[in-house]
């Protein structure tokens, strides 16, 4: 286990104070966003900037015979060979058996997916750059594409990367006696589930702007990224610019959800080219590029078997998860992240002692797969929770009661799962009980009895439970075989001489409210007004090294770092204040921008004045200045586990195949909440994306490997009318492993929604003999299933 670094002093909060941890503070960043003063990549106004259009492959798989340049291409069109001596990206796991492949910044010999960048074209405007790109003629020698999972698994298919087949990695997590469980079981249920390939669809697409700063002798790379420091590290290695001469800045970032949590080929190509040019260059991803060429998500086929006793207690599970990871392995997660994650967490929140899993990662001629809110968990949850409902149907029990019976119990905490995760705390079954009460199961059942069968519209009720591993620590990343270990986070907390506070953090805030919640943590420790705290982040030049914002980690990790740094800084503030007040440091508390000791108090401003401008007023031996940098790692190397149960009531229209969500409730536990309002926003937003996953979003490809959804006319995302207001109940069991007991929760909303909604739709349609195990459940899929079931019954 990693060296514990959470001082036990950062204990859970008993009673929230105004502005501090637990308060519903309005967000600091919203003043800027609501006034339209956010500054995104496309807003940057740097004189002389030329715009980039990438020439991208129009074919899925081909060798490049030749590239014909149009007149005027000199100095305006750049191929791989024009970028100097740069290395291809090679994103591998250290785990034995992982097959690596090279992903060049620009394709030079072979293209492996539609949208793969081939050339950088420059113009005064994006339109001019596109005109130029259109003039370039590439002679492709087309190769047969490998598109779908079945093709990728077929040893007869052409091999993409010169391996014996297209299987990148196979993991086999598990433990316990599955065969014994199978023998002992009263019921065995097997199903195959599919979750479609999706696009991530951040509101702002990706984008990069780069230039060489002649005064500072450094390469400046602005990127719409979630992890500037880490990107700097890898860019430095790939393009040969020393890391201390490289600055990566993430300006305001309009949503990430994982798609900006990777090294991007465009970042490498643009940074390498900017090093060789005398003017800034910028690429702003448009929606079409985003939908076809950004890292995509999901595309799982999972076969799951459960062995259970006659009451539905699950005795053992067997799973095979195959994930179509697309053409290349992306850094740092590797192509195998999805499959490994699904296979690794399939036992869910349940106490299941016997499990045999297999996670298979295949490559294909589709866009590379990357992380998307929830990563493998929406699929794992969907698979397991759908099967739980089928077990319940088989043993004739209410699905939510079956869940309660199977869950890890509070007295088993901390609980080590059969795949080695350490559940830290909480009462999982209580989340089911609470959400069942909120949704009012008897009332829904009564309504179903009244309505279903009387007309085309049928009511259904669905539940889904999950655990969400958050703030993964050192052990987790090592276990996953990552080449870099993202086990900690860092923050600097510094006062200015006028008594105000600046937090410098290595995370990146792109919608999570961290400019507010980190200020609340500092307020907790230092008694400052959170509205007055400046939080600077997302820039390698303004904060110490850290990992960035992803995997529901920032509140735990950066919050812990800010908490520790503030606590330490607070000790110094108290010593100085005690000296000024002529009391003992132990008698000083910090509140309302003052240091207080009994009836006496001194404003923080006097303390900072002494610290910065009047060293003669400091106690003997005290160093001037007031700043502190610390790191934070959770006490458990597998992080903290949040959990929740979702319940949803839907109405399925059997005449149109449309699904309407009538009610949606969530009971969740993310430990200590720093700002419940922000937590609720995260749940609501996650559920919105989960609704897209369940009902709308799909990136289909034709047999030639052409993506068929390249605009929002074909790739449907939920809009406000499709997203109900989610009713939310908070359970608050502090984690024993983190500062203040905070658990991450950024992904949770998205994890359970597909499972809950599909369970509800199946609940509505089960009496008609319909079972749907594939997302999204489109009108076509629902109506086809209804038709098939009707034909079946007529036979």
């Amino acid at each position: 286990m990693a060296a514990p670094s959470a001082p036990p002093a950062l204990a859970a909060i008993e009673a929230p104070r105004p502005g501090c941890i637990g308060d519903r503070v309005l967000r600091n960043e919203d003043a800027r966003f609501l006034a339209g003063h956010g500054e995104y990549l496309a807003d940057l106004d740097i004189p002389g900037t030329r715009e980039i259009a990438f020439l991208r492959s129009p074919v899925a798989h081909a060798r490049i015979r030749s590239i014909d340049m149009p007149p005027g291409a000199e100095g305006r069109v750049f191929l791989l060979k024009d970028l100097g001596d740069i290395h291809p990206v090679r994103a591998v796991l250290t785990t034995p058996g992982f097959r690596g492949s090279d992903y060049p910044a620009l394709a030079a010999d072979t293209v492996r997916f539609v949208g793969e960048p081939i050339a950088i074209c420059l113009g005064a405007t994006r339109a001019a750059a596109e005109d130029l790109a259109q003039e370039i003629v590439v002679d492709f020698d087309e190769l047969p594409p490998v598109v779908e999972i079945e093709q990728a698994l077929d040893p007869a298919s052409p091999s993409l990367h010169g391996w014996p087949d297209n299987i990148c990695f196979v993991s086999t997590p598990g433990g316990g006696e599955v065969d014994a469980a199978a023998k002992a079981a009263a019921v065995t249920v097997t199903r195959e589930f599919r979750m479609a390939r999706q696009c991530v669809v951040s509101l702002e697409g990706r984008g990069v702007l780069a230039y060489w700063d002649r005064r500072l002798q450094e390469l400046v790379v602005y990127s719409s990224t979630q992890q500037p420091h880490v990107i700097r590290t890898v860019l430095a290695k790939l393009i040969g610019v020393p890391e201390h001469q490289l600055r990566v800045v993430a300006p305001d970032v309009g949503g990430g959800f994982g798609v900006k949590n990777n090294l991007q080929q465009e970042e490498v190509a643009i940074a390498a080219l900017a090093r060789r040019l005398k003017f800034p260059i910028r690429w702003v991803e448009d929606r079409r590029e985003h939908l076809i060429a950004s890292p995509q998500a999901r595309e799982h086929r999972v076969r799951l078997t459960a062995h259970a006793d006659a009451r539905g207690k699950i005795l053992g599970l067997e799973a095979e998860a195959v994930v179509n990871a697309g053409a290349y392995s992306i850094w740092p997660w590797s192509a195998a992240m999805e499959a490994n994650m699904v296979a690794g967490i399939l036992t869910g929140p349940y106490a299941i002692d016997a499990y045999k899993g297999r996670g298979v990662t295949v490559v294909s001629n589709k866009a590379p797969l990357g992380p998307y809110r929830g990563v493998g968990r929406p699929s794992a949850c969907f698979t397991l929770e759908r099967l739980v409902d089928e077990i319940a149907a088989k043993v004739g029990r209410e699905p939510h009661e079956l869940r309660i019976d199977n869950m890890v119990r509070p007295e088993q905490m901390p609980y080590r799962t059969v795949t080695g995760k350490l559940f830290d705390s909480g009462d999982y079954a209580e989340s089911v009980r609470q959400v069942a009460a909120m949704i009012d199961v008897p009332a829904v059942r009564a309504r179903q009895a009244r309505q279903n069968g009387t007309g085309p519209r049928r009511i259904g009720l669905g539940f889904a439970s999950y655990t969400e591993q958050t703030a993964h620590g050192t052990d987790e990343w090592i276990a996953r075989g990552l080449t870099e270990v993202f086990g900690y986070e860092t923050a600097t907390v510094r006062f200015t001489p006028d008594g105000k506070l600046i937090i410098e953090a290595a995370i990146q805030n792109h919608g999570q409210g961290l400019e507010t919640t980190l200020a609340q943590v500092a307020a907790q420790e230092l008694g400052v007004d959170p509205a007055d705290v400046v939080v600077r982040h997302g820039d390698t030049a303004v904060s110490p090294y850290g990992m960035g914002t992803f995997a529901s980690r920032s509140m735990v990790m950066a919050g812990g770092a800010v908490g520790r740094a503030s606590r330490q800084l607070g000790e110094k503030v108290k010593r100085i204040a005690a000296h000024l007040l002529q009391v003992k440091p132990a008698d000083v508390t910090l509140a309302n921008n003052c240091a207080v000791a009994g009836a006496r108090s001194v404003p923080l401003k006097s303390v900072t004045d002494a610290a910065f401008l009047h060293p003669e007023n400091l106690p003997a031996g005290e160093d001037p200045c007031l700043d502190e940098t610390t790191t934070f790692q959770p006490l458990s190397g597998t992080g903290a586990f949040a959990y929740a149960t979702h319940a949803v009531v839907v109405e399925v229209d059997t005449g149109t195949g449309l699904v309407e969500i009538l009610d949606y409730a969530v009971a969740h536990d993310c430990g200590t909440m720093v700002n419940p309002m922000i937590v609720e926003g995260q749940v609501q937003g996650g559920v919105a994306q989960g609704i897209g996953n369940a009902l709308l979003e799909e990136s289909p490809y034709d047999s030639g490997g052409q993506p068929l959804a390249s605009t929002f006319a074909d790739y449907l995302v939920p809009g406000a009318p499709e997203v109900p207001t989610v009713r939310i109940a908070h359970l608050e069991t502090p984690s024993p492993f983190t500062a203040y007991g905070i658990k991450g929760m950024g992904e949770g909303g998205a994890i359970a929604a597909p499972a809950a909604i599909l369970n509800a739709v199946n609940d509505a349609l089960r009496p008609l003999g319909v079972e749907l195990n594939e997302t999204p459940i489109t009108p076509k899929r629902i109506l086809t299933a209804l038709h098939d079931a009707r034909t079946e019954r007529a036979r």
């Binding site: 405007t125 994006r126 339109a127 596109e130 005109d131 259109q134 448009d286 929606r287 079409r288 085309p456 229209d653 005449g655 149109t656 195949g657 449309l658 009902l695 709308l696 605009t711 006319a713 449907l716 939920p718 809009g719 009318p721 499709e722 489109t778 009108p779 076509k780 109506l783 086809t784 209804l786 038709h787 098939d788």
Partner: protein, 282 residues
């Protein structure tokens, strides 16, 4: 997603616009609301060297009303119809349809004439104007001509108008005072084009019924058998529903391709629900 370079000109009147279209080599294209044309240009699905903006031509923005018809200039917007800033010929049907097209931002610019000229088989106006028996007035080098709705929409993005013609106005016959309508549009999310559209108009005073199925095939399908079943029907009954189902099956059999099972369920639902709505059942 930026267009190729093109010239932009704003036509001051119809002759001005026609002059621009007359020179076939100049490759000019008129733009009304631009809500379909601009995306096509941006995606480089279409390139036109010259775009002639007709949205400000006064004549094309006119609307008028006579005893038996409403006449709408081609550049009357969806939003204006939605807001009741144009006379309503069909007991609120046109306002209802307009309000269900896309989002308000699109409706602020998109025009009824642009929609009819584009002839997207999924467009709301194409289905509605066919059901209402509208007439389309085109003007070209040889003057004006009138095209009846059934002759207007020949295929997806294909109308009876020539490249030298401008659609100047649309004449929509008024329904009788006691006429009723039903309009049922299936969309997967709000603001989208319909997957299937059913438009039903029942005008007992004129012994008229029309049923059009939109969006489901290459051109809207006039469901004459369904219309016959509905003609004179006083109210929704089980017997009527059964008769309608049979009639719909007959109509669908005339479509240019067989419907897949899931499509057949959806389009039948669409027509039945539009019909039920027209008969006061929802």
């Amino acid at each position: 997603m930026k267009p190729m370079p093109f010239d932009y000109a704003r036509a001051k009147d119809v002759p001005d616009a026609l002059a621009a279209l007359a020179d076939a080599d100049a490759g000019a294209r008129v733009m009304a609301g631009g809500q379909s044309l601009v995306p096509m240009l941006n995606l480089r699905l279409a390139t036109f060297p010259r775009v002639v903006d007709i949205s400000k031509i006064a004549e094309l923005r006119e609307r008028s009303e006579s005893a038996d018809a409403v006449t709408l200039g081609a550049c009357v917007t969806h939003g204006e119809i939605e807001d009741g800033e144009a006379p309503e010929p069909a007991a609120g049907l046109m306002r209802h349809v307009a309000a269900g097209i896309a989002y308000r931002a699109v409706r602020n610019r998109g025009t009824i004439g642009g929609s009819a000229s584009l002839a997207d088989a999924s467009a709301d106006w194409v289905t509605t104007l066919l059901a209402l028996g509208a007439r389309f007035i085109g003007r070209g080098p040889d003057g004006e001509r009138e095209i009846a709705a059934p002759d207007m929409f020949l295929g997806p993005y294909f109308t009876a108008m020539t490249d030298q013609e401008l659609l100047v106005r649309i004449v929509v016959p008024k329904t009788s005072r006691d006429a009723t309508w039903g309009y049922y549009k299936v969309t997967r999310r709000s603001g989208e084009y319909g997957l299937s559209i059913g438009a039903v108009i029942l005008d007992p005073a004129r012994e008229h019924a029309s049923v059009v199925l939109g969006a489901a095939s290459r051109t809207p399908l006039a469901c004459t058998a369904a219309a016959a079943a509905l003609r004179g029907a006083p109210r929704w009954t089980e017997a009527l529903e059964t008769a309608l189902r049979t009639a719909i099956a007959e109509d669908l059999a005339r479509a240019e391709r067989p419907f897949e099972p899931h499509e057949a369920i959806m389009v039948e639902t669409t027509i039945l629900r539009a019909a039920a709505q027209a008969l006061g059942v929802s």
